[in-house]
C-alpha cells in the first residue's frame, strides 16, 4: 500500500485515531436523499419549511470554559490552571465571554444570530455519560424510556424515515421512536453488489408473519433503503463531500460521537439547499470527556466546533432554504467547577446550550449558575433543558411540546426564536 492509500485506510478504518465517518462510510445514499427533493417539490417546496439541526457533543463539554464567567473570582480560584484571563475571552456582556477559540461564534453573536441558554440541566443530575445522554435525548429525566423526543415526534406525525436523518455512524436514541426511526445517511449513492438489484433488496424487505421483531426490523432496513431510493425521480448532480481533515489521536476517553463535524454539516447544508423533505438532522462531535490535560484537547475541540458551525451558518444565511434552519448545540453535562489536579475536570452538571441561525433572537437566556452556591461542588441548573426542547418542538417543528417531551412535563417557552 502506498502512503496515500494507507492514510485513506487509516482515516476510513479509524484504527489510529482517524475518523470513522469519512467519505466511504456506506450508509444510505446522500445522492438518493438529495434527489428526493425533486420529487417532493411537485407538491410542496421544502425549501420553505423550518428545519432543526441538532449537534450533540459527546463526553460532557466543559460549559464553564465554553461560556466563561470571566468576572467571577470564584472561577479563577476553582481552576487556576484552566481558567481564561479576562482579556482573552470574547465578551458577551460584563460577566460572560466565549472561549477564545470561538471566534466564529463570537461574530455570529455580534450579528445577533447566536442565543446562549445558560445553566441548562435537569433535576437530580446523573453523572453517567450514558444515562445522562439518554436523559437529554429522551427528554425524560424521571425514568428510562426507550424512545427519543425526535423519535416520538416521528411516531406522532407518522413521518417517513427521511423526515429525520442522522449523519452519525450509529442511529442515536434521539431519533428512535416506538414505531418509527429516522435514517442514517451517508454519501456514495445506492451501491449494490454486482448482480444484486434494487428489486431483490426490496423483496428482502418484506416482513413475514410470525418472524421475530428483530428479524422483521432487519427486513425493514432493506425496505427503507429501497423506499428512500425510490423517491428519486430525477438525478441531481451532487457535489462531492469535502475531504475529511486528519485528526490527531484523541486525548479523551471516547464516549461516542463522530469527529468530522464540518463534513457532516456540509452534507446537511447540501440537503437543505436541495429542498430535501428532512425536518430534523442529527450530527455530532465526540471527545469532550476531558479528565486530564483538558486545556489543549478542549481548545482543539472548540476550534473544530467553531469552524464547523461558523462556516455552516455563513453558508446557510446565503439562501432562503438555509435561513429556515435553526441549529442547537448541547452536551450531556458540564464538568465539575473545580479542576482536578491532572488539569482536567470530572463529570459535572448544568451547561450552556447554544442556538444559532437566521431565525434566532441572539442574546443570553436564563441565568448563569452561581459559582459560590454549589451542589456538592457542582453547578445548580437554572434552566430545565426540557424548556429548550419544548421551544424547538413548538417553534421549529410546529408540534405540541407537551406531547413529545417526556413525563407529562409542560415546557416553558423560551423566546430565543423569532418567526418572520
Amino acid at each position: 500500500m502506498d502512503a496515500v492509500t494507507r492514510r485513506r485506510f487509516l482515516l476510513a478504518s479509524g484504527v489510529a485515531g482517524g475518523s470513522a465517518l469519512v467519505a466511504g462510510a456506506a450508509k444510505l445514499s446522500l445522492g438518493g436523499l438529495l434527489r428526493t427533493a425533486s420529487e417532493a417539490s411537485a407538491s410542496e417546496d421544502h425549501r420553505k419549511t423550518s428545519k432543526l439541526v441538532i449537534v450533540t457533543l459527546y463526553g460532557g463539554n466543559d460549559g464553564l470554559n465554553t461560556v466563561v464567567p470571566y468576572a467571577s473570582p470564584a472561577y479563577y480560584a476553582a481552576r487556576p490552571e484552566l481558567a481564561y484571563e479576562p482579556e482573552r475571552v470574547l465578551r458577551l456582556d460584563d460577566a460572560l465571554g466565549l472561549n477564545p477559540m470561538l471566534k466564529g461564534l463570537s461574530s455570529l453573536w455580534g450579528e445577533q444570530r447566536l442565543a446562549v441558554v445558560l445553566g441548562a440541566g435537569y433535576p437530580k443530575p446523573d453523572r453517567s455519560h450514558f444515562r445522562s445522554m439518554d436523559i437529554w435525548q429522551s427528554a425524560s429525566p424521571s425514568g428510562p424510556t426507550s424512545s427519543g423526543w425526535v423519535g416520538r415526534w416521528l411516531d406522532g406525525t407518522k413521518a417517513a424515515p427521511e423526515a429525520a436523518v442522522s449523519f452519525e455512524p450509529m442511529l442515536p436514541p434521539l431519533l428512535a421512536g416506538e414505531t418509527r426511526t429516522g435514517a442514517c445517511v451517508s454519501v456514495g449513492g445506492l451501491k449494490l453488489p454486482p448482480g444484486v438489484t434494487a428489486d431483490m433488496v426490496g423483496a428482502l424487505g418484506h416482513r413475514e408473519p410470525n418472524e421475530s421483531e428483530l428479524q422483521a426490523r432487519a427486513a425493514d432496513a432493506y425496505a427503507n433503503l429501497i423506499n428512500i431510493d425510490k423517491l428519486i425521480q430525477h438525478a441531481e448532480a451532487v457535489s462531492a463531500p469535502p475531504e475529511a481533515t486528519v485528526q490527531p489521536d484523541s486525548p479523551a476517553t471516547s464516549t461516542g460521537g463522530s469527529n468530522v463535524l464540518s463534513a457532516q454539516l456540509s452534507r446537511v447544508a447540501q440537503c437543505v439547499e436541495a429542498g430535501v423533505p428532512t425536518r430534523v438532522y442529527s450530527v455530532s462531535l465526540g471527545g469532550f470527556d476531558t479528565h486530564a490535560s483538558e486545556r489543549v484537547g478542549h481548545e482543539f475541540l472548540l476550534r473544530q466546533l467553531d469552524q464547523a458551525l461558523a462556516s455552516f451558518a455563513r453558508r446557510l444565511s446565503g439562501t432562503e432554504a438555509g435561513r429556515q434552519v435553526t441549529t442547537v448545540v448541547y452536551s450531556e453535562f458540564g464538568r465539575r467547577v473545580r479542576a482536578n489536579a491532572s488539569d482536567g475536570t470530572d463529570h459535572g452538571t448544568a451547561g450552556p446550550v447554544l442556538v444559532l441561525g437566521s431565525q434566532v433572537a441572539g442574546g443570553l437566556y436564563g441565568e448563569q449558575p452561581s459559582l459560590t452556591d454549589l451542589d456538592d461542588g457542582d453547578l445548580k441548573a437554572t434552566t430545565d433543558f426540557r424548556d429548550v426542547i419544548g421551544t424547538l418542538l413548538a417553534s421549529v417543528l410546529q408540534a405540541d411540546p407537551a406531547r413529545y417531551v417526556g413525563g407529562g412535563y409542560q415546557p416553558r417557552m423560551l423566546p430565543f426564536l423569532v418567526r418572520d
Binding site: 478504518s13 444510505l28 448482480g195 433488496v201 432487519a218 476517553t253 461516542g256 479528565h291
Partner: protein
C-alpha cells in the same frame, strides 16, 4: 431439539459449520454443552493463529524524537494495530474452542478500551493477554484495575493523592462491576481516591504502584469505611451482591436477549457459580429460559463476519492485502472494529445494528465475501445448509429462487434477515 442445538451453537460461538451442527445433533444437547464449555482436546485450530509478538513500541527510547522519527513511529504503530486486529479476526475464525474465544471477545466489549486513545498496540495486546489468562471474573477484575491500557484509557495515571481523577473509579462501578446507579457520587469520589498511586511505565509496558502518590486516608465506599486501595476496593466490590448479578445480566444481554430482562431464577443459577464466567455461561445455556430467546439477538458485525468466514471455509489470515483492508474498513462501516470500541460502554446491541446505513454496508460487504468463493452450482437449500439456517422464510426463499448465480445467492443469504438475527 435440533433448533435448540443450532441456537446453542450460534450463541456460544461465532457460527457453527454444517459439520459441527451435524456432530452436535448426534451427540445431543448435554454432551454438546459440555464439549463447548469444557473442551478436553487441545485447540489445534487456534494453534494456526498464535498470539503475535510485536516487539517494543516504535516510540521506545525515543526521548526527543524529530518530526520524521515521530511520523515513522506513528506509522509503525498503525501497522502493528492493523496486524493485531487482523490476527484476532483470524484467530476467532480458526479456533476450535469457539465458546472460549467468544467469551474473550465479550470481555473485550465489557472492559471496552480503545486503541484510538491508548495508541500503543503493545498495551492493547497486553490487555488482551490479561483477559485471556483470567480464568474467572475475580482474577480478571484484579488484573484489569492495574492493566496499563485500561488505566491509561480512563486516566488512572493522572489520578493521584493530590490530583484526584474520577474517570476510572466511576466506570469501574458503573460499567465494569456493579451497574449504573448502584452507588452514590460520594462513592465515586472515594473509589477514585482508592485507585490513586498507579503509574504507567510505558517502555516496560507495565503499571507500578507509587506509595507517595497514593491517598492513604480512610475512604467510605458503599457504607464501609477503611483505607481502601485498588485491590481491596476490587475485593470489596466483588463481594457486593450486585456484582455477581450485574455480570449475569451482562452475559444474558449479550448471549440470550438484548431486550428482555433476565429471569430471576436464571440469574440466581448464574450467580451461584460466580465468579467463574464459563460456568455462568454454562448455567445460562442449561436454562429453560435460554431456549426461549431464539430471534432475540442480532449478530454483531464481527460475529457476522467471522461466522461468514467459518461457514464459507475462508480464513481472514489468508486474504489478499486489498481484501484485508476492505475487511477492516467494512467492519468500521458496520460499527465494530475490534480493539476500537466506540466508547467505554462497549458496542451497542439489538436493533441498533439494523439501520438503513448498515443494511447497505452489509450488502456490499457480503458481495465482496461471496466473490472469494469459487463458483459452483448452488440452490437456495444449499445456501441454507452452508450457512446453517434451518429454513428460509417465504420472503427470502422467493428472492433466492429467482437467481441461479452462486455468488448472488451467497450475497443475499449472508445479508438475509434470517442470517442476521439469531
Amino acid at each position: 431439539m435440533a433448533d435448540d442445538l443450532a441456537l446453542l451453537l450460534r450463541r456460544a460461538g461465532f457460527g457453527p459449520t454444517a459439520a459441527e451442527l451435524a456432530a452436535a445433533k448426534k451427540a445431543g444437547y448435554e454432551a454438546t454443552l459440555a464439549a463447548l464449555t469444557a473442551p478436553t482436546a487441545p485447540d489445534v485450530g487456534a494453534s494456526l493463529a498464535p498470539v503475535p509478538v510485536l516487539g517494543p513500541d516504535p516510540f521506545f527510547r525515543l526521548s526527543n524524537p524529530t518530526a520524521a522519527q515521530r511520523a515513522k513511529a506513528s506509522e509503525e504503530r498503525w501497522e502493528q494495530t492493523q496486524r493485531i486486529t487482523q490476527w484476532w479476526l483470524d484467530r476467532l475464525t480458526v479456533a476450535d474452542h469457539q465458546t472460549r474465544e467468544k467469551l474473550w471477545f465479550f470481555w473485550h466489549g465489557h472492559w471496552a478500551t480503545s486503541v484510538r486513545k491508548v495508541m500503543r498496540p503493545q498495551l492493547m495486546l497486553l490487555q488482551h493477554r490479561n483477559l485471556r489468562s483470567s480464568l474467572d471474573f475475580a482474577v480478571m477484575a484484579h488484573k484489569m484495575i492495574t492493566d496499563p491500557a485500561l488505566v491509561f484509557w480512563l486516566d488512572g495515571e493522572s489520578n493521584t493523592r493530590t490530583a484526584p481523577n474520577e474517570n476510572l473509579g466511576r466506570e469501574l462501578m458503573e460499567l465494569f462491576m456493579l451497574g449504573i446507579g448502584r452507588y452514590s457520587e460520594r462513592d465515586v469520589k472515594a473509589a477514585g481516591r482508592a485507585l490513586t498511586g498507579w503509574r504507567i511505565d510505558y517502555d516496560g509496558a507495565r503499571t507500578y504502584f507509587s506509595p507517595a502518590w497514593h491517598d492513604n486516608g480512610a475512604k467510605t465506599i458503599l457504607g464501609e469505611t477503611k483505607n481502601f486501595n485498588a485491590h481491596s476496593l476490587v475485593d470489596f466490590l466483588l463481594k457486593q451482591d450486585r456484582c455477581a448479578a450485574y455480570i449475569a445480566e451482562r452475559l444474558w444481554f449479550r448471549y440470550a436477549s438484548s431486550s428482555d430482562p433476565i429471569p430471576k431464577s436464571t440469574r440466581d443459577a448464574m450467580v451461584a457459580v460466580f465468579p467463574n464466567s464459563m460456568s455462568m455461561l454454562r448455567k445460562l445455556f442449561e436454562d429453560e429460559a435460554f431456549r426461549a430467546t431464539a430471534g432475540k439477538l442480532v449478530k454483531q458485525p464481527t460475529e457476522w463476519f467471522v461466522g461468514a468466514m467459518r461457514h464459507l471455509g475462508l480464513r481472514p489470515g489468508e486474504l489478499s492485502d486489498e481484501m484485508s483492508t476492505y475487511v477492516l474498513n467494512g467492519l468500521e462501516r458496520l460499527g465494530q472494529l475490534p480493539f476500537a470500541p466506540p466508547s467505554v460502554e462497549g458496542w451497542p446491541a439489538g436493533a441498533e445494528w439494523l439501520t438503513v446505513g448498515a443494511a447497505q454496508a452489509r450488502l456490499n460487504f457480503a458481495g465482496r465475501i461471496a466473490q472469494l468463493v469459487p463458483a459452483q452450482r448452488l440452490t437456495p437449500e444449499d445456501v441454507a445448509h452452508v450457512l446453517t439456517i434451518e429454513t428460509w422464510t417465504n420472503r427470502t426463499y422467493s428472492v433466492l429462487k429467482a437467481t441461479t448465480d452462486p455468488q448472488r445467492l451467497l450475497t443475499l443469504g449472508l445479508a438475509s434477515p434470517e442470517y442476521l438475527v439469531t
